[in-house]
């Protein structure tokens, strides 16, 4: 039985919507703030903004970025 004529159009629209949502998901992930500290011994650690130290680190980084605007 042949497919209904509007089926192809619906599939195409659905495909575009999937692509757009995947793009937004990727964009959200790559734009998430991050902080990583490295020590002379080779140790590295990620610092999330949910900790006090991480929050201070993000604030300090913002001041550095703001200094570049002056």
């Amino acid at each position: 039985m042949p497919a209904k004529p509007h089926r192809g159009l619906l599939d195409r629209v659905s495909g575009y919507a999937d692509e757009a949502s995947a793009y937004l998901r990727r964009r959200r992930l790559t734009r998430r703030p991050f902080a990583r500290v490295h020590t002379p011994g080779g140790r590295s650690a990620a610092c999330g903004p949910e900790t006090d130290e991480g929050r201070e680190l993000f604030l300090a980084a913002s001041r550095v970025i703001d200094a570049a605007r002056d």
Binding site: H38, A60, A61, I65
Partner: protein, 131 residues
């Protein structure tokens, strides 16, 4: 005889280093060079503002790591901040979002190494290109 330049380069040397890094790194927005005591030697903008901001980032990174850090990289929606300690100096920089972090860190280390070696040394990048 100890090399006094390693502990006290002139402000002009540090300004040359800042200018070199600015020329080398297209994504760099600005930076400051601090000595081992935390005093600002040169900056791409107002030195008092940069000095305070640079020391603040290093202090926050040390507190987060629980020990003095060798480098730190923070990415925010407005841009990215870097701090590197090498050869007795520290360089704190602001860069565009999504900059090539490895490349910028390489350039920062090269500039600090040349600053520590003195103004007559062959730049590290030139040596690497010649090899």
């Amino acid at each position: 005889m100890p090399d006094s330049r390693k502990t006290a380069p002139s402000a002009a040397d540090a300004e040359v280093a800042v200018a070199r890094l600015t020329a080398m790194s297209a994504d760099l927005r600005g930076c400051v060079i601090l000595d081992s005591a935390g005093a600002a030697l040169a900056a791409s903008g107002p030195i008092d503002v940069w000095s305070e901001a640079g020391r603040g980032l290093l202090a926050a990174a040390d507190a987060a790591a629980g020990e003095p850090v060798s480098h730190v990289h923070v990415g925010t929606e407005d841009g990215e901040a870097f701090a590197v300690r090498a050869d007795g100096f520290a360089l704190v920089a602001a860069a565009e979002r999504f900059t090539l972090a490895g490349l910028l860190l390489f350039d920062i280390r090269a500039v600090l190494r040349d600053l520590a070696r003195g103004p007559n040394a062959v730049p590290a990048r030139t040596e690497a290109e010649a090899a």
